[in-house]
């Protein structure tokens, strides 16, 4: 039986990933800021075959309580933690963060700084136990800064770079670090974005993340075609790119 930590367990993508673990009879610790939503997801995972479910309520921006979460993880799983997924995030309104410095800093805190802080705590735990898999949901938006969402993109880019370094550090300790880069996914985060055929289903994304964590993959684009798309986007020379309205 595997032990699993999901931070941001009320995210649609994270919940689909949790369902895959639950169906294998895993023991899960779910972390989110909204208790009622978290309980509804916990009940679902219990009915779907989870061996055990524990919940921990945390606003990720409450840095002072991060170590409390780590204590909860250690006491929930005295024999070790097999999988950890960091999934939460917010998609800020670009017009707002382009004009309001405090809002830009907040968006960066939620999507990058708090993630980096939590990963730093987790890295210590995994380094000690010398096994396990960490995965973090970044985004294709972190692959290149674009006028339409560069604050979110910068935060995700920071997470991608951070996890790249962490991956190399943890490789020596038999711990995998997977950077997940989804394209558009049909979830509450994109509720206001007009849908197009490129939108992926959160359940397909969840299945892919679960597989990537099991295999300990490095960088995973979901769906896979985004790797090619982002390759092309990154290859466009800056002097041309800056004129494109992307």
């Amino acid at each position: 039986m595997s032990t699993v930590l999901i931070i941001g367990a009320t995210s649609a993508i994270a919940h689909e990933t949790s369902r895959k673990f639950a169906s294998e009879g895993a023991d899960l610790l779910l972390v989110a800021r909204n208790g009622a939503k978290l309980q509804a997801n916990a009940d679902d995972l219990t009915a779907r075959g989870a061996y055990g479910i524990r919940t921990f309520i945390l606003d990720a921006n409450d840095f002072a309580r991060h170590s409390e979460l780590l204590d909860a993880v250690r006491s929930a799983f005295p024999d070790g933690l097999n999988y950890a997924l960091v999934a939460y995030g917010t998609l800020p309104d670009q017009a707002e963060v382009a004009a309001d410095a405090a809002a830009a800093a907040d968006a960066f805190t939620t999507n990058a700084t708090s993630v980096i802080a939590l990963l730093t705590h987790l890295a210590g735990l995994f380094e000690e136990q010398k096994h396990g898999a960490i995965a973090v949901i970044s985004s294709v938006a972190g692959d290149r800064g674009r006028p339409s969402n560069y604050v979110y993109g910068a935060a995700k880019g920071a997470v991608s770079l951070f996890t790249q370094g962490l991956r190399a550090r943890m490789a020596k300790h038999n711990v995998s670090v997977t950077t997940i880069k989804p394209g558009f996914v049909d979830t509450p985060m994109t509720a206001e974005v007009p849908k197009n055929p490129l939108f992926a289903d959160p359940s397909d994304v969840g299945v892919r993340i679960h597989k990537a964590m099991k295999k300990g993959q490095d960088i995973v684009y979901v769906p896979a075609f985004w790797r090619g798309v982002m390759g092309v986007i990154r290859a466009i020379p800056e002097r041309i790119f800056k004129r494109l309205d992307l």
């Binding site: 679902d44 009915a47 007009p194 849908k195 055929p197």
Partner: protein
């Protein structure tokens, strides 16, 4: 989801892909404890399940649809009693994947498992076991109904019983169902024992079927819709007992369809010649009069689910289904008349199904099943020609005192609807003022 794009509007059609519908707004409902406001001053709303209804009961042209596919959490499943509580957007397929390994099956199952629990209530669906189990609504012990006023009502035969009876077969018009509680039925294996018997006339079908209904919980027949004499195959089945040859309850992990029809097939693929060849081959495939098999529940209950999006095989214009029930008195004469009318029209039907409903009443005041013979046929949509055929079938069904199934319908007139569902006026008091559907506007105009 804010303003829908053309692509997302295309996704919110019905199974028959007729009539075409353009919802003005699509709102995804994801959190049962924190619902969006239902209904705006100027636009009506309607829940959309999995769009497995053939016609327009799940459409709200020019207005708002509430997408329920993300409302798919289990709330509780008691492995000892088989009592399930789940959100209304959960599909029957998802339910089975969790309950079969524990030895529990759906009390009533339609011909596809890709329908939602909410849709199953709203059309009060029936299955091959109607003669012993009645409709789906009979097995629902409670559900929560949310009205546009913001009220959240738990409905059961005891609490808010009038809304309970109006919502079962209520065509989605009484409000949004957020969760339901359903009593599952125990099984010992995932296999079904089937006996298939060939019949060569309608009278033979009636006699065989009456006998089979006494012996087996599942009875249904396939009938050659191209020929008026009523030849076909009757299939009766029951859950196989646990034992050396029946595997332990399990669930085929691979739920993805093996074959799919990603593009619209050209309409000529389903011409009268190809259908004739298919039907004749199907009838002759069985070389003896009686055949016994043991099969997995998937091909037995959901044969068409193996081909994803098979409705696209009917081409861009889509398909129309005609499903009626006619009372037992003179049912052989009426069914004969219907079959002759169809054969005469030359509009071939590939999948024609015939079954004897039983007399177990449903709590739903607008429920379709009633004692008699039900006949269901798929037709390629040939426009006016097919619609005219349906109107002529309606004339026969009305004459006989029968009814047509709203879940499958895109054509019945307001006059026919009122004849088929005499309690419609009593029902309409329970309709939520902010809810409406393309179907409802059609049959009450």
């Amino acid at each position: 989801m804010g303003k829908p794009t053309a692509a997302s509007q295309r996704a919110f059609q019905s199974w028959g892909r007729y009539p075409k519908s353009t919802p003005e707004r699509i709102i995804a409902v994801r959190d049962r404890m924190n619902l969006p406001k239902l209904g705006k001053d100027d636009s009506t709303v309607l829940a959309y399940g999995q769009g497995r209804s053939y016609g327009d009961v799940c459409l709200n042209n020019g207005a708002t649809l509430l997408g329920t596919s993300a409302l798919d959490r289990f709330i509780d499943f008691n492995k000892d009693t088989g009592l399930l509580r789940a959100e209304a957007g959960t599909t029957l397929s998802d339910v089975l994947s969790q309950t079969i390994p524990q030895g529990w099956f759906l009390p009533v199952s339609p011909g596809t498992k890709f329908v939602s629990l909410g849709g199953a209530i709203a059309n009060d669906i029936h299955g091959k076991n109607h003669h012993v189990a009645g409709t789906f609504g009979r097995h629902v012990s409670r559900f929560e109904l949310v009205r546009s006023s913001g009220e959240k009502l738990v409905c059961s035969p005891k609490e808010n019983s009038e809304l309970f009876n109006a919502t079962i077969a209520g065509l989605g018009l009484t409000g949004l169902i957020t969760w339901i509680e359903l009593q599952m039925k125990p099984i010992e294996s995932d296999q079904i024992d089937v006996i298939t018997t060939r019949f060569r006339s309608l009278d033979e079908f009636l006699a065989l079927s009456a006998e089979a209904n006494k012996e087996s919980p599942y009875v249904v027949a396939w009938i050659d819709g191209l020929r008026s004499e009523g030849r076909g195959l009757l299939m009766q089945g029951d859950h196989a007992p646990a034992g050396p040859d029946a595997s332990l309850p399990s669930f085929e992990a691979d739920q993805k369809a093996r074959i799919s029809t990603p593009f619209d097939a050209p309409g000529w693929l389903l011409n009268p010649v190809s259908i004739r060849a298919f039907n004749a081959a199907y009838f002759r495939k069985q070389t003896t009069n009686i055949k016994r098999d043991r099969v997995h529940y998937n091909p037995y209950f959901y044969p068409l689910d193996a081909i994803r999006d098979w409705n696209r095989g009917y081409g861009k214009r889509g398909l129309l289904q005609y499903q009626c029930v006619v009372p037992f008195d003179d049912s052989n004469v009426t069914v004969q008349e219907l079959l002759s009318r169809i054969a005469e029209s030359g509009a071939g039907s590939f999948l024609a199904v015939i079954k004897m409903f039983g007399d177990i009443p449903s709590p739903g005041m607008m429920s379709f099943p009633r004692p008699g013979i039900t006949l269901a046929l798929d037709f390629a949509n040939k426009g006016e020609k097919t619609i005219q055929l349906f109107h002529s079938l309606d004339a026969i069904v009305r004459q006989a005192g029968g009814a047509v199934y709203p879940a499958k319908d895109a054509c019945m007139s307001a006059e026919s609807f009122r004849a088929y569902f005499p309690r419609w006026e009593e029902f309409s008091i329970y309709i939520d003022p902010a809810f409406s559907s393309s179907f409802w506007r059609r049959v009450t105009s």
